[in-house]
């Protein structure tokens, strides 16, 4: 029988993993939509508007899934991790509060105007609404990543009577790992959304869509990906160096370095063995880990032996990190190849379109793998050096947590199926529907999705 701690951890991991998939798309897709709308305002080219119309519907759907899966999060802290709020509530509370106050209402309210108000407000106000929604999603990420980074690298606090009190809110928010984590996550969202847009557009073209809008969206996605992928590699490296400085045990686990050594090799593959505290089946490049992490061929890297009993599990970090980096390399190659082919000829060859369809959700794999590395990498701590995960868990009975966990998992499986299925239906519908010319961004179709009125967003 699993105990409450394990069940609560599984439940939290399930909830947050399911949740992050949707903001990972919408954070950047909001900016892409603003870009589409702005281009339409500037050029009067209706293709931009048609691209906007299709993607705003995808955005609304994805956003709704993000909202509902996010609401469960706001209950989790109190129900399953009361020790978290008891110990660090004075820090976590205000940061979460600012997220709700400055971001949630902003995005929710202006999303209403953005989705349904296009013929009720002047065009400029509609464009502003799209901008405000984009700002709202980025602000939301700002606060939640400030809190997450603080849990990784706490700063700006003191302990009075066993409870954390803030001494400097600026230091709390801009704690050492925050700037790197925020940039890294925003870029990750950009890549996720770029491949999502390119992949779904490629799917439409493969299914015989002759229209211009999916080609424009495909190009936009590919160009964004081609620009962001190398930037992400650079920022990721900075983030890794920052982690090495503040959480060396995490990097040691990521690289499966069991003993402190000079000139550490980079392991391309290995099977870490936690019991024997060694690796099997290593494929290594000599000195490369030292070179990457310390920028010296013989640089010293602290091994897991220095943190015995106080470091995260090695295998999930080792593999998670390799999956993330692998996906990143794959994305870089795909984006650059795609852009090269686009420059060479007007239309992408079918094999490339198929590759892009295959990469539609590549961002999700990289984002999840990356988050698993950083979150499992914080263990056994919930807040590094301050609060252990095991000390924060609820005294609830395992059956209660088991019940809610089973409930959530069932719902999530159904929702994920429905989401992917609906995206497919929307894409196929967009292929069939005739393209139309519009003078102004007038609306067509009701919320009903009735056959007669469903011809909206045709391009």
């Amino acid at each position: 029988m699993l105990d409450t701690l394990v069940l609560s951890r599984i439940q939290f991991a399930a909830n947050i993993s399911f949740h992050i998939l949707f903001p990972a798309i919408t954070m950047a897709l909001a900016w892409i939509l603003f870009f589409f709308k702005l281009r339409y305002d500037r050029t009067d080219n209706p293709v931009w508007m048609r691209a906007y119309r299709f993607w705003v519907k995808v955005f609304a759907l994805t956003f709704a899934l993000g909202v509902v899966s996010g609401i469960t999060m706001s209950f989790q802290f109190g129900t399953n991790w009361p020790g978290f709020m008891e110990n660090v509530g004075n820090i976590a509370g205000p940061l979460l509060g600012y997220e709700v106050l400055t971001a949630f209402f902003l995005e929710a309210t202006f999303l209403g105007i953005m989705l349904f108000g296009i013929d009720r407000v002047p065009s400029w106000l509609h464009t502003v609404s799209a901008l405000v929604v984009a700002i709202g999603t980025s602000l939301s990420a700002f606060w939640i990543l400030a809190l997450n980074s603080w849990m990784q690298t706490p700063a700006g606090f003191e302990i009075r009577d066993g409870v954390i009190h803030a001494t400097s809110w600026l230091e709390v928010i801009f704690n050492p790992s925050f700037p790197y984590r925020y940039t890294h996550m925003m870029l990750a969202s950009g890549l996720t959304a770029a491949f999502f847009v390119a992949g779904l557009s490629a799917y439409r073209i493969l299914k015989g869509d002759e229209k211009l809008a999916p080609r424009l969206a495909l190009k936009t996605g590919l160009v964004i990906a081609a620009i962001l992928a190398p930037v992400q590699a650079y920022v990721g490296d900075l983030h890794g160096l920052n982690t090495l400085k503040h959480q060396p045990q995490k990097v040691a686990a990521m690289e499966a370095i069991w003993e402190t050594q000079r000139g550490a090799p980079l392991l391309l593959f290995a099977i870490p063995d936690e019991k024997e505290r060694t690796n099997h089946a290593e494929i290594a490049v000599p000195h490369l880990a030292s070179l990457i992490l310390t920028h010296e061929v013989d640089g010293e890297i602290r091994g897991l032996d220095e943190f015995e009993g106080n470091h995260p599990p090695v295998a999930p970090l080792f593999f998670g990190f390799r999956i993330m980096v692998g996906m990143g390399i794959l994305m870089l190659l795909t984006a650059w190849t795609g852009c090269y082919l686009l420059i060479k000829r007007e239309e992408l060859p079918r094999w490339m379109l198929r590759v892009l369809v295959g990469m539609t959700f590549s961002g999700w794999a990289a984002v999840l793998a990356g988050w698993y590395v950083t979150e499992i990498g914080r263990q056994p701590w919930l807040v590094t050096g301050i609060l252990r995960t095991a000390d924060a868990v609820t005294p609830l009975a395992p059956t209660n947590v088991g019940f809610s966990l089973a409930l959530y998992l069932t719902v999530y499986v159904i929702l994920m199926y429905a989401y992917i299925h609906t995206l497919k239906v929307m894409a196929l519908k967009a292929v069939k529907v005739e393209e139309f010319e519009t003078e102004s961004p007038s609306s067509e179709g009701t919320t009903s999705g009735l056959p007669g009125s469903a011809e909206e967003g045709a391009a």
Binding site: L61, A64, M85, A166, S443
Partner: protein, 343 residues
């Protein structure tokens, strides 16, 4: 318990919890009214196949608002978490299962709203059913939790019975405000239907309010003392009296609706809102300054002063802005919902 604090002159640190319980109360009240009407619309959704056009109009009437409405719940729970973390843990651990069920309900309706418009046509009815079931699950669990809260998380059969009664009462109240919203936002056949729904839901709500008002002081001696102490009794009994008068007046008014040129079509909604406000102030009056009835008051549960100050600064700046742009959104979508188009 240190409710005596109220009789002394308060320091800044003692004022803060009062300000935050006020903010939280405001968030709960706004949530109950705003998400109340869109939950109510979900409950009232007629499921016959000939009703499809009406379902579309009903859902279109709440389309631009439901997301922001739900955010008030996040804010209310957020303030509870931020300002009164101990109470947050205590309340939500007692209500773990109903809260989880409520979240499932909120998830069902939130996604159904988008899926119904975008999924394959043959699945639309399924998503409409999901929407209705999710709305019902949400209101029933919220009412049940309110009942449990009032009963101090007692798990004896009579307390559970009361909680079930409260579940029905809250569901009726949400249907009431939802129907009144539809009277305001729709026309023609659907509006006539909404008028009938509003009358029926109004009467059910009335019974629910009477039942809760009678049981609450009987099981909570502190509440009884507070309400029936001279001379305050003369003043506070105004709340139920006015509430009763509004119920009767609204029922008479709805009987004569819809009127020519759709006169007074907004009045029932605002009367219902007034009833919500009165019931809420009655409940607040019963328990303030306790945050977990009989167990914890707001000063015992409050967070550190510097944290509350930090968040208060933000709240003072941001809450008026939120109210302002919420008002803007309602202005943009003023009028009948049939004209509401998607994108």
């Amino acid at each position: 318990m240190n409710a005596e604090i109220l009789n002394e002159s308060l320091t800044y640190a003692q004022w803060l919890p009062i300000i935050f319980i006020g903010l939280m109360g405001l968030a709960v009240l706004i949530y109950a009214i705003l998400d109340g009407y869109d939950l109510g619309v979900g409950i009232l959704l007629p499921m016959q196949s000939r009703d499809e056009a009406q379902r579309d109009t009903m859902i279109a009437s709440i389309g631009p608002f439901w997301d922001a409405n739900e955010t008030w719940l996040v804010l209310a729970v957020g303030i509870l978490l931020i300002a009164f973390p101990e109470a947050h843990s205590m309340i939500l651990m007692h209500l773990y299962i109903p809260a989880a069920l409520m979240l499932i309900g909120l998830i069902m309706r939130g996604v159904a709203f988008d899926f119904r418009a975008k999924a394959a046509v043959d699945l639309k009815l399924t998503w409409d059913r999901t929407f209705k079931a999710g709305s019902l699950l949400t209101t029933l669990t919220q009412g049940y939790m309110l009942g449990q809260y009032v009963m101090g998380f007692d798990s004896h059969w009579n307390a559970l019975l009361f909680s079930c009664l409260s579940a029905l009462g809250v569901t009726a109240a949400y249907s009431y405000v939802g129907a009144a919203w539809l009277v305001m936002k729709t026309e023609g056949e659907l509006q006539r239907r909404a008028v009938r729904w509003a009358r029926r839901a109004g009467r059910a709500t009335f019974l629910g309010v009477v039942a809760v008002s009678m049981v609450n002081p009987l099981v909570n001696p502190g509440v009884f003392d507070r309400w029936f102490t001279y001379p305050l009794v003369m003043f506070v009994l105004l709340i139920p009296t006015v509430c009763f008068a509004i119920f009767v007046f609204n029922d008479r008014l709805l009987k004569r609706m819809p009127k020519e040129n759709d006169r007074h079509c907004r009045v029932p909604f605002f009367l219902t809102v007034a009833i919500f406000m009165l019931c809420f102030s009655g409940l607040a009056f019963s328990f303030f300054p306790e945050i977990v009835p009989g167990k914890l008051d707001i000063w015992e549960a409050a967070s550190a002063t510097e944290s509350l100050t930090f968040i208060l600064v933000g709240a003072v700046i941001v809450v008026p802005l939120i109210i302002a742009y919420t008002a803007l959104a309602y202005r943009v979508f003023l009028g009948k919902a049939t004209a509401l188009k998607y994108h």
